[in-house]
Symmetry: C2
Subunit: 349 residues, 2 copies
């Protein structure tokens, strides 16, 4: 590995400067991504064709001095492999053709076999590792059980996800049956990505922050902890650092840090220094600039990077990132300014 | 006043049972609202016609044993009176025809005279007070300066409000000029509502929670405190309790409680008991069930009401509400179940 910064920071080891990668770094803000996406014909086709997924994964690595690559894929590959049939239309967002609307739909679900049912993901991981050739580490990922259950029940995005919440209130036993099978699927999927070559793993709990505290602990946190424990008992995955990102769930940082993960992703609504004080040395932290900062001037971007680095302080264990994915209308040059500022303004730890 | 529960709870005085009102209680989930809205022809016409605004304000009071009425209006009446021209189309949301796109647009803004430029609101307040005839108190409201600035710059809703944030980063002096004139407008507007008869005042800081902590303090909290201080020096408004609701800003509760307001609105991502521990006896608390609970069964609704009441405990100073507005697809009977449960399950304080 030519660039170990990211993996060293996840292990809270000293680094020469703060590593940085960006959520959705392979995405629509890049003209080269839009060209490949157009060639693929559809977003799902892009995910399911290892050569194309590899191509877009590597695009931001070629353009910017990023310290990690992340597999190009989607969190809804698991529901798709479970038979719910994923499509993603421009402007509409993800849609599952067969959402779970009856208890019987949930009872029929099984854990997909990652190497057969999700072979295209594993092939992409292997291909990307080969093409990266040790330049930077590769991150694999999955959605959290709660977040996947939200989409599986609702069938599409929603402002409130009232359907999955109503199931949790009205029939918690059925909701737990669903979350348990999804958690086992996520754990198996992440372990398979590690076996295929992913050098870090991340779980996106995108909708955990929509839950009241007690529901968060019962329906999201519990299954994140279950996955972390399963991965600890896997002979490959136990050595691969796990990053948990529960967006909007900053009141639960201590509990998230106790799951056994290596690092926590943070959104921008908490100061890095405050988060570090709360979780201490239990985990590394990843984040957390407001993605809107990329709409500001280069000078303002550098200023905000400097403030975030100062807030974390000159300690080991910081991976720089935005607090959410980069958005399509960002000027790629502004991202270059941000990445350079992280490397230039951070200090050896 | 026949029903003093709401005003007593805001003053943290003992009550016979916990008072309850619901954000957007006069709204699309009610068939009688939809009928009046159709008669008005447009949402803005409904807001601007005192007789119709009065009619829909009273509809939920006639149907449910609510403990307060809230003026039917919109937070964007102030930008509209400043010349930005509001329209609200079904399915599109609010839109300002003349958003602020240049510094000169901001320099031209002045504080509207509430009794002339926003006369329709003051007339509605007077009419509603007359028609309520002392049954329950009437709440007046406004948007927060930050939230109004978001719409005034963006011209419409947005997932990220990147434009106003970029202005705050790139040219903070201009953003502060804008927020200052809007804060003076909000304070004058709320004071005029109090003079016209509003018995409590609420500020909706709907987008404060989109700000990183330092930006929240500089661009939202500071102006909420400024308004609270202006109202304290107004000979009518100083006796009218002020409720601040910064959605998604639970990490700032202590600072919000220090602004001099009477009460804080809470979203559902914090336990009421934890919030009470943090703010102590400084303010009353209003909230905070997840609005999605109204999609659950009546038994589950009663269970969640009971848990929220238990979390707050048998102390004075709780006004029951949802943690956000009720949504259009809710069955009104489920809201009736919630309101009855609040009264039945709460205890004398």
């Amino acid at each position: 590995m030519q660039n170990e910064r990211f993996l060293r920071a996840l292990r809270r080891e000293p680094v020469d400067c703060t590593p940085v990668w960006i959520m959705r770094q392979a995405g629509r803000y890049l003209p080269e991504y839009r060209a490949t996406r157009a060639r693929a014909g559809s977003f799902v086709k892009l995910c399911k064709t290892p050569e194309l997924a590899c191509e877009v994964t590597l695009q931001p690595i070629a353009r910017f001095p990023l310290d990690a690559a992340i597999l190009f894929s989607d969190i809804l590959t698991i529901p798709d492999a479970m038979g719910l049939s994923l499509s993603v239309d421009e402007g509409v967002g993800p849609r599952l053709a067969h959402p779970l609307r009856a208890r019987a739909d949930i009872d029929k679900l099984g854990v997909p076999d990652a190497e057969t049912d999700l072979r295209y993901v594993m092939d992409a991981v292997r291909l990307i590792r080969r093409e990266l050739n040790g330049r930077v580490p590769l991150i694999g990922f999955a959605g959290s059980p709660w977040t996947l259950a939200c989409y599986m029940i609702e069938g599409e995005g929603s402002a409130s996800f009232a359907r999955p919440k109503a199931l949790a209130w009205d029939d918690p036993a059925t909701m737990h049956r669903l979350l348990d099978v999804v958690a086992r699927a996520v754990a198996a999927y992440l372990a398979a990505q590690a076996a295929a070559g992913a050098q870090a793993l991340m779980i996106f709990d995108t909708w955990g922050g929509l839950l009241a505290p007690e529901m968060f602990r019962e329906f999201s946190l519990r299954y994140l902890a279950q996955i972390a424990q399963i991965l600890k008992s896997n002979h490959v995955a136990r050595d691969v650092p796990l990053i948990l990102f529960s967006k909007g769930a900053n009141s639960h940082l201590e509990a998230l840090a106790d799951t056994g993960c290596a690092a926590l992703g943070l959104d921008w609504t908490i100061a890095l220094g405050d988060a570090r004080t709360r979780v201490g040395d239990r985990v590394a932290l990843q984040g957390n600039l407001d993605p809107s900062v990329l709409h500001a001037t280069p000078d303002a971007i550098r200023g905000e990077v400097g403030k975030a680095l100062a807030s974390f302080g000159a300690h080991p264990g910081h991976v720089f990132n935005l607090g959410h994915g980069i958005t399509p209308e960002v000027n790629p040059e502004h991202l270059g300014v941000l990445i350079d500022a992280v490397h230039a303004l951070s200090t050896r730890t």
